[in-house]
Amino acid sequence: MWFFQILYKEFLSLRPVIWLALLAFTIAILGLQGNRVVMSYIGKIGPAYPFLSSNFMNAYFVVAYFLAVIVGIWQTQSEFFRGTWLFLLHRPRGLTELVVAKAFSGTLISLTVCAIPAILYGMSVSIPGVLPGPFQWSYTGQFWRLWLFIPILQLGAYTTGLRHGRWYVSRLCPFLAAVLMTALTFLLAIHWLLLIVLLGFVLVLQVIELRQEVSQRDFS
């Protein structure tokens, strides 16, 4: 099916970014757990209880959000740089359908790449005796809450990459809106369900914006 082919193509195209992100996650986790080799390079980060301490969350989500932004920009700019939009968009599907499918492929990849190290880490620390205290999966609640913002940032960066205009002026608007939305929602500390509804609403707005960009964009 064509969507899975786009997903696979995006995965192949994003391999360098994915490997770098996985490396950064590994370094962050090892550093936070006091790994001597890592700490000899990056210094002492401080103690961090998995998924609960702010040290862990800060380090992990700096990498995760940075990955989301890079994925969004890379997805659009690599096509412009190689002129391959013309190849992709001529496939017999609607232009918006193709551009949105490509964006969602990036979203799925970003979410998966950010989730896998955390799940593996969670599994490793859930083994009795690894941590001085008990570990429960419910500790990861705040992690998944922050994880949900990845699509917003990635789609914001993607739309910025697609948008026509100067980088430092109107082109940045979709990305800045995504950052603002993320910051506001995070500060509001709203209920889970409300958060999901709100994020869904933002995603719909982002797709509408993407559709608008596609109708005006010069893909040459």
Binding site: L12, G83, L86, P92, S220
Partner: protein, 307 residues
Amino acid sequence: MSSYAIETENLCKAYGKKVVVNHLNLKVPTGCVYGFLGRNGAGKSTTTKMLMGMLPPDAGSGRLLGDDITNIQPSTRARVAYIAEGHPLYAWMTIKQLSRFTKSFYERWDQTLFDRIIDHFQLVTNRAVKRFSKGQQAQISLALALAPDPELLILDDPTLGLDTVVRRDFMESMIQIIQKQGRTILFSSHILGDVERVADRIGIMVDGVLRADCPTDVFKQSLVKLVLEFNSPPPPNLKFPEATGVVHSRVFFHQLHVVIVNPDDDHLKLAETLQPKEIIREQMNLEDAFLEYTREKRDVLSFFGGS
């Protein structure tokens, strides 16, 4: 169903103040091999991108196999092959991956034909596209374009940057493709020899305006160079009198070269008023005709219309 595979009406595109395509009325009949000519920056690529829906026009309209170019339906896209200038492909993919990727979008995909073309060009399918030469990448593009068995092919300067041998091979393949009845091809090119071999109709863009649109033979036969021979060098600013059909004139040693569309007795009478020693009528090949026709920037060029 329209007898035109491609139709545009007053299609316009400008970048800032520069008008790149100016009220273009292009009509490509179904089953025609149409050579779309013009110098660099004439607006050929911009036109093909607008036709393919990759670039929104500023004004005017267009139809591709009957579909509005601003809203080409997937079913119509499946019937059209498009090779963009420079053969943009995912360079890190192998031919096998590219074929699998492209195939997934089409209901009608002839894998046997694709494999046959790849075999014909002796390309290794498990090698990344970036490891192939520019000419081989053009061959891969052609194979990908043909596998869905398109009714219409739009090729934007497909031989650009290819050496003579590869270009010849590419054109031979194109001739084979053309042999399939009812298939329409629009291809832009700088290489007039290629166009002369395959196109049965040509369009010439000059500064965003379609200045000629006629059968290739009509263009060659209609454009004539009159060489007015003088005893002594004529004044360097000597110009042929203004008249319908006169494209341009220029002094060349003892001669005045005048390029005219369909010269008649009136033109000859005008030539005689300049009192030349001799008037020689020269027929030109397509390349010379094209060069003479597009050589100088002018506001008005004689228009080749009709069929």
